[in-house]
Amino acid sequence: MILLTLLIITAYLLNLVLPWWSIAIPGLILGYQFNPKAGAAFGWGFLALFLLWGGQALYIHFANDGILSTRIAEMLGVGSPYLVILITGILGGLVSGLATLTGTLLKK
């Protein structure tokens, strides 16, 4: 849980000032520090950014009355703006999960 919270907070802060790929940095460092098992590392890492990016997207979606997410869903041909939010979460999750896994493996 601490790992998850730290991942979310640090990724959020880094993402404010650095390009999107900075969300991999917390995973690498915290994965190395906390050194969980491989499966758990990926899982926590994935969940952290899935929640962060997915959550941010969900907030924007509602605050914007879904105007843009609906248009992007149509552009991508995915049908529903919720799928756009889901994709956002998964993309963030994949990068962070893989980064956390790499961090923990580098220590082992």
Binding site: W53, Q56, A63, L68, M75, T88, A99, T102, L105, L106
Partner: protein, 802 residues
């Protein structure tokens, strides 16, 4: 093995990040794109912008920008520099992508950012000489201190906005297409004007008319393209007498015949491009002051081509719509006058067959001597690929094109040079600079002298009570029908031998009938001594407007708004009764008979809820095709199709007209058979495409009014906007073309305006303001325009530029 796991995992991570940061084909870099902080999510507007002060580096001035509830900016500045700087800044803030993509397109530079898929368009743009024309225009603009100052101030404003942007703030299209804005330079304003010239004066029939003579003979061309329909109702009516002698031109003894059938590319203007404007004098209005209207019909896009704005500084207070890339207001009004434009279909684009001395193409034959060509190297940069170099040969006529033709004849088509008004040095921006400040009729006329092209019918009204209309632009002084066919590039008699003097341009002021109007129809009655073109819009819209205005009195603003929304079809009313008469009822099945009843009851109004307009459109299309397609498809050469208004006359008067027969059958077909078969095909086709008769057959859907995104990005458009109107109606909405701005202005001590366009001020698809006026536009509602004499006390929000 285990020691390899971290290496493997690291590589996988690097690979993942790399691929999510890279554009594949048309897929944007996904990581970058979905990032909620800086990707497309950052473009979702979650609150109305707030008032504030913006300190801009390098800007010494001061401008206050008040946004009203529709977010129309009202700019108040202390001087002209600050005014145009603020205009550039505000337009960039709302429409940056549009500003850039339009001018990239006009400069033949799309591929730089979009890759090889736009390469052909870029090459064509360059071979037509659009960047060449823009460079020439820039020289004229530089030489005029007022224009030069305004386009530089405007450029500074755009650049101030661009340099304040971080990638996170880029409009969403940049994120989708993955590129960045570049610095704005004054030549881009010239590119924009060339873009308008291409849209409005980039059509000609040269190859198709020549081919039609070759295959169907000159009598056919005479019958359909020289003879005018009886119902023609020219812009400048026959009652106008001309008190000058035309400047004579010398005509060749016989008409040049091209070496072979020619195919020069797609130059047919889409039917929906056209416009209406009119002004009624105070003698016909309730208020006693003139009322002026304008609705330019263009390809409808999101964001709209237009942007509404008020510009106020010492010496200027004007309101109207702007074109993105040009300082000033293009269609609008000020405290004394109002003006509007419709397109003039003059023939200002001619093709010349060129005779080169040898394969080197260094010399060409003209006026009994060999003359030297010049070369212009066009470098088209292509994203992700090597730049393409294209050498374009120029003769004194213009750039030379070699067309690979589909037509299999013994001889390949020769080389053709293009003479086009877009190559003539010009400064249209100066016209609008002066119109924005015009106080009376004389100022208006003075401003028009700067306009070369695209030629426009400038309608005018003043609070002093004048109404006027000038068919205005620089027109080549041609002999009758010069340039409607492919011209002889060796004979100087085919050159543009001079210009129609400005004072000889067709015009009219305060006519007795109490109104002036234009709807792209023939510019002037046959007694006007110069030749402009043989291909103007059908009489339908123009005649309807004149019919209505002639019978109206005590006119109010509401009456004029209603006339803009008039859906009457002169087209249907002048052929449907005959079609129904030719149709043999006894041969019809049940569905067919029901459809026929709908047509019989129809009042010729193109209303969205009706099915009859769909049936009529399709039936007429099938009927027309059944008359002409058998002959027209007997060759691969592109031929010129006759205009429907003339075809109807011929069919009504000449039942034995030979094209009625199908050349592919043994028997001889009659009009009655053509009407029946095409009617059956109509019902069959409708059922196949839209199912059983019902909701889907309604005109509002059938006319397929899609308002696409300017770069055709799916999802950023408004599809199938259910609307009244048709291209032949005054309300010329059809298939994604139509009234791109509806404006009505009442002159008087307090000038008042009303307007609407199908879109919104914001170019951001993530803002509710992106298409916020669309519904009002669709239902025909106009907004009262807030024309202010001083800074307002109430506003949505306000920006202070410092």
């Amino acid at each position: 093995m285990k020691s390899l796991r971290p290496v493997f995992s690291s590589l996988l991570l690097i690979g993942l990040i790399f691929s999510l940061n890279t554009k594949f084909g048309s897929v944007p870099p996904l990581g970058k794109f979905f990032d909620p902080q800086a990707g497309f999510w950052a473009n979702a507007e979650i609150s109305v912008p707030e008032s504030g002060e913006i300190a801009l580096e390098g800007f010494e001035g001061n401008a206050s920008v008040y946004f009203d509830e529709r977010r129309v900016p009202h700019i108040f500045a202390d001087n002209e520099y600050d005014l145009y700087f603020a205009q550039g800044y505000i337009v960039a803030r709302d429409r940056l992508f549009q500003l850039e993509i339009q001018t990239y397109d006009a400069a033949g530079r799309l591929s730089e950012n979009l890759g090889s898929r736009t390469l052909n368009r870029d090459l064509t743009t360059r071979r037509r000489g659009m960047p060449y024309g823009a460079e020439k225009a820039l020289e004229v603009m530089k030489a005029d201190p007022k224009t030069w100052a305004s386009i530089n101030a405007y450029a500074d404003g755009i650049n101030a906005f661009i340099s304040s942007l971080e990638p996170k703030g880029y409009p969403v299209e940049y994120k989708i297409l993955d590129f960045s804005p570049e610095e704005w330079t004054p030549i881009k304003s010239a590119h924009l004007m060339k873009n308008m010239t291409r849209t409005l004066a980039g059509g000609n029939n040269d190859d198709r008319t020549s081919n039609t003579i070759k295959y169907f003979g000159s009598d056919f061309v005479e019958k359909f393209f020289t003879v005018k329909p009886e119902l023609n109702d020219p812009i400048i009516p026959a009652s106008r007498k001309w008190d000058f002698e035309r400047i004579p031109v010398q005509k060749p003894d016989s008409l040049f015949v091209p070496a072979s059938a020619v195919e020069l590319g797609e130059f047919k203007k889409p039917e929906g491009v056209g416009s209406n404007n009119w002004a009624v004098s105070g003698s016909k209005t309730k208020s006693g002051y003139p009322i002026l209207t304008n609705d330019p019909h263009l390809s409808l896009t999101l964001p709209s081509i237009w942007y509404e704005m008020q510009l106020n500084a010492p010496g200027i207070n004007t309101y109207g719509v702007t074109l993105q890339g040009a300082p000033g207001v293009v269609i609008g009004f000020n405290e004394k006058v109002a003006w509007g434009v419709t397109n003039v279909a003059a023939d200002v684009m001619d093709w010349y067959e060129i005779k080169f001395k040898d394969a080197s193409k260094k010399e060409y034959w003209h006026d009994d001597k060999w003359k030297h060509t010049t070369l212009r190297i066009e470098e088209v940069k292509v994203r992700g690929e090597e730049a393409v170099l294209d050498t374009v040969i120029y003769t004194h006529h213009g750039p030379v094109t070699e067309v690979k033709s589909r037509i299999n004849e013994e001889r390949e088509p020769a080389y053709h040079a293009l003479k086009w008004i877009a190559h003539i040095p010009s400064n249209e921006i100066r016209t609008f600079y002066e119109l924005n400040r015009a106080k009376d009729y004389d100022d208006y006329v003075e401003s028009l002298k700067h306009l070369v092209g695209p030629a426009q019918n400038f309608v005018f009204a003043s609070s002093a009570g004048d109404i006027a209309l000038w068919v205005n632009g620089k027109f080549p002084n041609k002999w009758e029908h010069q340039g409607r066919t492919v011209s002889d590039g060796t004979d100087p008699l085919y050159d543009w031998q001079g210009w129609i003097p400005f004072e000889h341009n067709p015009h009219i002021k305060n006519p007795k009938r109490g109104f002036v109007s234009s709807a792209n129809q023939e510019s002037a009655a046959p007694d006007y001594p110069y030749y402009l073109d043989d291909d103007f819009a059908p009489f339908e819209r123009g005649r309807r407007i004149n019919d209505r205005l002639a019978e109206m009195n005590e006119i109010t603003v509401k009456d004029m708004q209603d006339l803009q929304l008039d859906n009457f079809s002169y087209h249907a009313s002048t052929i449907l009764p005959e079609l129904l008469e030719w149709l043999d009822e006894d041969s019809l099945g049940v569905d067919e008979r029901e459809a026929m009843e709908l047509l019989k009851e129809w009042d010729y109004m193109n209303e969205a809820e009706l099915i009859a307009p769909s049936l009529f459109r399709r039936w007429w299309g099938n009927f027309y095709a059944s008359i002409f397609n058998d002959e027209y498809r007997s060759t691969k050469a592109p031929l010129r199709y006759p205009s429907r208004d003339r075809v109807k006359e011929v069919l009504k008067n000449e039942p034995d007209f030979e094209f009625i027969n199908n050349i592919n059958t043994e028997k001889k077909e009659t009009l009655e058979e053509r009407a029946l078969y095409s009617f059956r095909a109509t019902i069959k086709g409708m059922t196949e495409n839209y199912g059983e008769p019902g909701e889907n057959w309604k005109w509002g859907y059938y006319q397929n009014n899609d308002i696409d995104h300017i770069s055709f990005i799916p999802g950023l458009s408004a599809e199938n906007v259910f609307s009244n109107g048709s291209s032949e109606s005054v309300n010329a909405t059809r298939g994604g073309f139509g009234p791109s701005w509806r404006m009505v202005v009442e002159l008087g001590p307090e000038v008042k305006g009303w307007g609407v366009y199908p879109g919104g001020a914001s170019g951001n698809p993530g803002s509710p303001n992106y298409d916020s006026m669309l519904e009002s536009w669709r239902t025909g509602e106009l907004y009262e325009l807030k024309f202010m004499k001083e800074p307002p006390k109430e506003f949505l929000y306000k920006l202070e530029l410092k």
